[in-house]
């Protein structure tokens, strides 16, 4: 059994600083976009009184959901005792923190009054799932940092398993909490279902792992560290299973919605006549973002190529963003049933006249803010693996497999 050696990321300085500079510029653009929206007010965005959560929420929720999923690799290692995943646990924890920080930043900067963050941190309404999420998110950060400490510090080793277990339970609560933000909206037909929470958990598994794999492959590749088939194929298969789980729950979602005739319109909106939302659903989320990656990951030849696996991950991420767009914005654009059994003929407030969907077009500042959040997450990760010993020296089969065999 070999000892796992962790080393700082040894990228040539020019490349490293170049990478940081690019990320900083993207994050800076996000900051400028925020300053602009904050100064002018939300009228410069595409958001209206009908579609109140726009593109920033798409990115924020995606990042938050992916954050809890990114922790999975560590959980499998320490909670379920799969030593094969142990060398990856540190990166997994770091990425979880980074993604959560990026997502929360976007969420906060999109508030109408971001300057009142202190109010949000000090005044609570405990009936609100939103308020609970504030605890879930900050708690997650603290626990994952503690978890990382138990892994990095020798004295902490004995606690890795219990803390890891705690972190795992917490992450499930966190994703359930995030999903429930939507689940509690009984008035909105698209969200009013119990499938929302498991769907979000499956999504977090898939999107978090896809991002994890992308970053792992990139980081190892950049300073020439090996990754063997054993680890890579395990992660690849896992990703395939998670994507499959999301698809399965999407089917369940529509089946439960079809159960009552009152939701036929909603199902038709998503699947057939919802315009941009239907297109995003079928072509980006399902086809490009789920079926293509599945095809690659289970293809006898392509599934062996690192480049193909990485593209499958990339597609999953794109599909993930599309899924958030469809759920968050599509769910609002679909007219709310103010008068079940009646058709709205006229309205002074855009109440879905004749069943029309609410208009929304993302504005540039919104998109920049969202991408800025992604850049912040990547920045934290890039700095983290550079200054801390988080990346395993080698993931080659000979370095990890016997390790694995010994335990199993």
């Amino acid at each position: 059994m070999k000892r796992i050696v962790y080393r700082e990321w040894r990228l040539a300085p020019q490349r490293y600083w170049g990478l940081l500079a690019i990320l900083a510029v993207v994050a800076g653009l996000g900051g400028l976009a925020f300053a602009y929206m904050e100064h002018e007010g939300h009228w410069v965005t595409g958001m209206t009184n009908q579609v109140v959560w726009g593109t920033p929420h798409v990115f924020a929720v995606f990042l938050i959901v992916a954050a809890s999923g990114a922790l999975n690799v560590a959980s499998i290692g320490s909670v379920f005792g799969k030593t094969l995943y142990k060398p990856l646990a540190r990166l997994s924890g770091l990425l979880a923190i980074a993604l959560l920080a990026g997502g929360l930043l976007v969420l906060v900067l999109d508030l109408g009054r971001p300057d009142r963050l202190v109010v949000a941190m000090t005044t609570y309404n405990f009936r609100s799932i939103f308020a609970w999420n504030i605890f879930l998110y900050t708690g997650f950060m603290v626990i994952v940092i503690a978890y990382l400490w138990t892994m990095v510090e020798r004295k902490g080793h004995p606690y890795t398993k219990p803390v890891g277990f705690f972190a795992f339970v917490w992450r499930l609560a966190l994703t359930t909490g995030t999903g429930s933000i939507f689940g509690f909206l009984v008035a909105r037909q698209a969200y009013d279902t119990a499938v929302m929470a498991p769907l979000f958990i499956a999504m977090s598994f898939a999107y978090g792992l896809a991002i994890f794999l992308l970053i792992l492959l990139f980081a190892l590749d950049q300073d020439g560290r090996p990754i063997g088939k054993f680890v890579l194929f395990r992660l690849r298969n896992l990703l395939g299973i998670f994507i499959g789980a999301v698809l399965f729950l999407v089917v369940i979602y529509f089946l439960t919605k079809l159960y009552g005739a009152k939701n036929y319109d909603l199902v038709a909106f998503y699947l057939a006549d919802g315009g941009i939302y239907t297109i995003l659903f079928w072509f980006v989320w399902i086809l490009a973002g789920s079926l293509f990656p599945l095809g690659i990951l289970f293809h006898p030849e392509l599934s062996k190529s690192r480049a193909w696996i990485a593209s499958a991950c990339g597609l999953t991420v794109v599909g993930g963003l599309a899924s958030m767009y469809v759920i968050i914005i599509g769910g609002q654009a679909f007219p709310m049933q103010l008068f079940p059994g009646k058709t709205i003929l006229e309205s002074g407030f855009y109440d879905g006249v004749g069943g029309a969907a609410a208009a929304y077009a993302p504005s540039l500042p919104e998109i920049l803010l969202g991408i800025g959040g992604v850049a912040v997450a990547l920045l934290i990760t890039a700095v983290g693996i550079r200054v801390l010993q988080f990346l395993p020296e080698s993931l080659a089969d000979r370095d990890v497999v016997d390790h694995h065999v010994v335990r199993v």
Binding site: L111, I181, A187, K342, S347
Partner: protein, 263 residues
């Protein structure tokens, strides 16, 4: 033509009044002080009690085609007509602005899918006994007063818009723009959410009724009846016991304070 004249007349008189009372303020520090003084000087010493529950009965059969007196009156009463489109004169921007401007009350016309029966009615915050917006608000800014009025505390609202997502009546509006001009009785600020508060300043000043109900009555329609849902002898409860009425989205069991007849 008549409406125009009417508007002009009201506008001028209002301007005079505003000038005199310095009710219109700009967002600077000094007016803030004035505002504060005015607020303190108000005779609002009585605490809000739960002995009353304010509500309304809207008889949609009386709501006249083409009339929007309630909407106009509400806009004027609560300073919603002072909202200005920030910039951008092009048609697209104007269209978007119309979807972004705050509206507390609107006219909706619906047709029954089965019978074809059409009704026209004003929609606003329904002042639920169990308001979803209050449940979801993370800071408790969205709250229900003891007298049943559901409203937003402008000082703790962080503008997360979760309440707007939760409201089954789409009653709430977000302030998308910087507000330069506003009324003392209806403070307003960028980045906060607001909605109909049953003319809460009138409640606190002891003025009867709401702007929309008054305007509707003045038009001779009398489709909106404001009153106390806890007073069995009051006009509202008396009417409710004789006229069959319903709640919008009764299925959600929110026990709304605004009831509708003829829908």
């Amino acid at each position: 033509m008549t409406t125009n004249k009417h508007k002009e007349r009201v506008d001028t008189s209002r301007r005079g009044f505003l000038g005199a009372a310095a009710v219109v303020t700009t967002v600077t520090v000094a007016p803030g002080v004035v505002l504060h003084r005015l607020a303190v000087a108000e005779p609002r010493s009585e605490a809000v009690t739960s002995d009353v529950r304010w509500g309304m009965l809207i008889d949609s059969t009386k709501c006249a085609e083409g009339c929007d007196a309630c909407v106009t009156a509400c806009n004027r009463e609560n300073g919603l007509d002072l909202q200005k489109q920030p910039k951008g004169e092009d048609a697209d921007q104007q269209k978007k602005w119309d979807r972004q401007a705050a509206k507390w009350i609107r006219i909706v016309k619906v047709k029954d899918n089965l019978t074809g029966h059409e009704s026209r009615l004003p929609m606003m915050c329904q002042h639920c006994e169990h308001p979803p917006c209050v449940d979801v608000c993370p800071t408790g800014a969205s709250f229900k007063r003891a007298d049943g009025i559901v409203m937003v505390d402008r000082h703790t609202c962080i503008g997360c818009r979760y309440c707007m997502m939760a409201c089954p009546y789409k009653a709430r509006s977000f302030i998308h723009e910087t507000v330069d001009t506003k009324l003392t009785r209806a403070p307003r600020g960028k980045g906060c959410v607001e909605s109909c508060n049953l003319c809460v300043h009138r409640r606190d000043n002891g003025t009867p009724s709401t702007a929309c109900a008054d305007a509707c009555a003045a038009q001779g329609q009398g489709a909106i009846l404001f009153g106390d849902l806890k007073d069995p002898e009051g006009p509202l409860m008396k009417k409710l016991t004789t006229l069959s009425s319903r709640q919008i989205r009764e299925d959600l069991a929110l026990d709304t304070g605004v009831r509708y007849a003829g829908v």
